[in-house]
Symmetry: C2
Subunit: 500 residues, 2 copies
């Protein structure tokens, strides 16, 4: 194993170059730009690494890159990756061109890769490929690997459930799933993910054409409100029926019926932690959180840390993300609009079910007299949760402990508290696979979806301990695999963790 | 008088050219483009016509062009004009460039002027100038004239009340006010205006910065709705409090208190008409109205014509013109917005008062707990009404009768039923001037504020009678002045009304 770590250190320059090469390849799933080329590039990497069956599986917007690596080992791990990225909007705010793979200094880090996709999620993806290359040069992989690299994550992973059903006969060989992601925050605290909250994203549209009242095809002169009904006011009344006066309680019949969290185990984890983890209730500090987001107070003026984490971890919400309709330009154009549309993201938890909630919203609208209001599902994930005591999770905690990294284990659905608010974990934890998952190697990056996205290449000391760079990320991934295969490296000699 | 009509016929080509010249001069008050130049051009016209004191009176966005024409007559009439125009948006939808003053055929009219400002309101403005020129070449004007040409009408006439106060010592010499406008519809029916409904245009903004809850400076991640309040939901609840479930009744305390319409006289006018006018209740046909606006049904499924006109003539309304906030782009960006804004036009009638209604909305918000919601006045007019039996009105009806034109007299505040939904009539009918007004020479145009705005140059026969072209417009204006001065031309020999 030591040979693997040395190989990583010796080749870190080449490893970094490979990552730069990969972020230079556009792969914007919203527009399709470079997606196919990126998928082909990735398939080539898998072939070079000795994978069998490296192939593109065509899906709605972008293919899944699928590959198997047979090490003749006992255990098999699915590595979930995503190769698509968000568009690089607000180009003028970027300090470097977003698709050139520039390495820059960003205090306290001497070297970060600043590029679209750096942390989300090409950095961790290439890190894992580098790990396999390093292991194969000195040894053999301790586990068999199945790579599932998605190209539609930024479009809501719309094909993943279908892909998993179709590939279930292959995927069911696996014993667990690892999400190739870095989970350290800027202070060095590691926060792995054991699942995801549920997300349902809908649009509601009130339209005179559906209603049969008011203007039906286009907006008309504002003075006509005297004699015609208003689809816009109808939208307001319809929306108002969905939530309580304070906007915080969901008034849809049966909404809260199936909620089963928090379990006793959840609360114990929150308060006491597990193994050597720092309890989440102790590690979360609401003040810097509020300051950075310019939020003065929480719902109901809650100040108790544990209560805040509980609401974030076990709550359900119905948000108004956006609304538009009618005349929104300057001045005083008078106008009775024929339609108004709003967008809503809904968060939900075990054992609420996505389709059941969708049906309940429809039933609410029908019952309140809004049969004509269009309810559209934009996308959604089922929630996912994996035991915090699975073998792959234990292997990950052991890695944190071997590296001396402070870590906190949040309840699986507490998405916003971690690096990854929502991801399609449910395709693995749900039927037919029902596999344990964890996401979270070492390493840190930030500004995903924003200008100047970065990924740390050369680490630095943080408030909670070392924030690891690329070599550390790779070593941590290798360590998880060794731990999982039962080949515990024990307490690793600390100099091996010095980064190149 | 016959000489005047002949002079108009003989010079109609030159008159048309002058109108083309005037529409070629941009005067877009929203952007300021050409406004000053247009005002100067107009002042030059007044000087050529022998006016005294032709001057530009600087106002907020554009000067008033003020001029006096002293004919040594007994009576004095203020001619209200507007020289500003809307921008010409959607250029690709225009059949001709909007500022070139092209004459085109538009069935059934052999010649219309197609240009921005053609009907609203440069056509009628230049027609009146042509009338004065014609009269002066053969005779002397039967009345003294005071010209008030506004350049801010399309910006809500924001300076007119102030201008009238400052010029009251001059304006009070006048006996009545005539709005230089054409009031025939496409079928030849004439619908003069005796006033305007009241209009209050407001914006409402709910913002975390004012509220002190939820996101205060920028939107945050949608999953945070679990622990933060939503200014967007607050806006929905606030709006919902303003109107009844069906969106049609205004729930603001005291809103309906001062309503005094319809008077008995109003109802009599509606049902029986006045002089030889066709009663409004008989002339209004809701079916083509609904068809052209793609409206299937009116409020409360009202079908009775008289009831529809009553609601349009004497009603008050609180419209939702537009609303926007948060993520309105494609896909499923999850977002808790820090603010939502909506626009509202409010129509009101005698004796509701603009400032009182504004205060009542503020009081409603405060009472319902929305002290933090910002209420902004964008602009507004007080309602105006002038007796349908004033001398200037009688002079106008006499003209319709002399020309054999079918006409209908709507109650003064029934704005939408006429050619001009709202205009600042109140500055003349209200204190300090309290003058009778009427608007409406012959002539027809359409598509004001839209592509392909037009003004009929050569008339044609319509369903209700002749739709007059420019020569007819000018003769009708001259006739109103002669009638008003007591120099009734009697039944004018019909060939004089044939147009050049």
């Amino acid at each position: 194993m030591e040979k693997t770590y040395r190989n990583i250190d010796e080749n870190i320059v080449a490893h970094t170059k490979k990552l730069q090469e990969f972020v230079r390849q556009h792969s914007i799933s919203q527009t399709g730009e470079g997606v196919k080329e990126c998928a082909e590039l990735l398939r080539g990497y898998f072939e070079e690494l000795g994978c069998k069956e490296a192939r593109l599986v065509p899906e709605k917007y972008a293919p899944v890159v699928y590959a198997e690596y047979d090490a003749g080992a006992k255990k098999t791990v699915i590595i979930y990756m995503m190769y698509d990225v968000q568009p690089a909007e607000d180009i003028e705010l970027w300090k470097v061109p977003p698709f050139e793979g520039k390495i820059v200094e960003m205090t306290p880090f001497k070297k970060v890769l600043m590029a679209r996709g750096a942390v989300n999620s090409k950095g961790p993806l290439v890190a894992f490929l580098n790990v396999l290359e390093a292991i194969r040069q000195v040894d053999e992989s301790p586990v068999n690997l199945i790579f599932v690299a998605e190209g539609e994550e930024e479009r809501g992973s719309v094909s993943m459930a279908k892909f998993v059903r179709e590939y279930a006969h292959k995927l069911k060989k696996a014993d667990s799933v690892f999400f190739a992601a870095s989970c350290q925050d800027e202070n060095g605290l590691a926060e792995p993910t054991l699942g995801s909250e549920g997300l349902l994203y809908i649009e509601l549209e009130t339209n005179g054409a559906f209603w049969g009242r008011g203007p039906t095809e286009f907006g008309v002169h504002g003075a006509l409100k005297l004699i015609i009904d208003s689809p816009a006011w109808r939208h307001i009344k319809m929306l108002s029926s969905l939530v309580s006066e304070d906007g915080n309680k969901i008034m849809v019949r049966g909404w809260y019926d199936n909620i089963q969290v928090p379990t006793k185990q959840d609360l114990k984890l929150l308060k006491k932690g597990y193994r050597k983890s720092t309890p989440a209730a102790k590690v979360f500090d609401p003040e810097p959180f509020k300051r950075s987001l310019k939020i003065k107070t929480f719902i109901d003026d809650v100040t108790d840390k544990e209560e805040i984490i509980k609401r974030l971890s076990f709550g359900t919400s119905f948000n108004l993300d956006g609304i538009w309709g009618g005349w929104t330009g300057p001045g005083s154009k008078t106008f009775v609009p024929h339609k108004v549309t709003s967008k809503h993201n809904i968060r939900f938890v075990p054992n609420q079910k996505l389709n059941d909630l969708f049906r309940k919203i429809r039933a609410h609208l029908d019952e309140k007299g809004y049969k004509d209001v269009k309810l559209r599902k934009v996308d959604g994930y089922q929630w996912a949760l994996s035991s915090h005591k699975s073998a792959i999770a234990e292997a990950t905690y052991a890695m944190f402990e071997q590296f001396g990294v402070k870590y906190a284990i949040y309840p699986p659905v507490a998405s916003i508290l971690r690096f990854s608010p929502a991801w399609p974990a449910y395709v693995f934890t749900g039927k037919p696979l029902e596999l344990p998952i964890i996401g979270g190697a070492l390493g840190h990056g930030g500004r995903a979806h924003s200008p100047n996205e970065y990924y740390v290449i050369e680490g630095a000391k943080g408030h909670h301990g070392r924030v690891y760079g690329l070599a550390g990320v790779e070593k941590s991934m290798a360590t998880i695999l060794y731990n999982y295969a039962g080949k515990r490296p024990g307490k690793i000699r600390s100099k091996l963790f010095r980064e190149a």
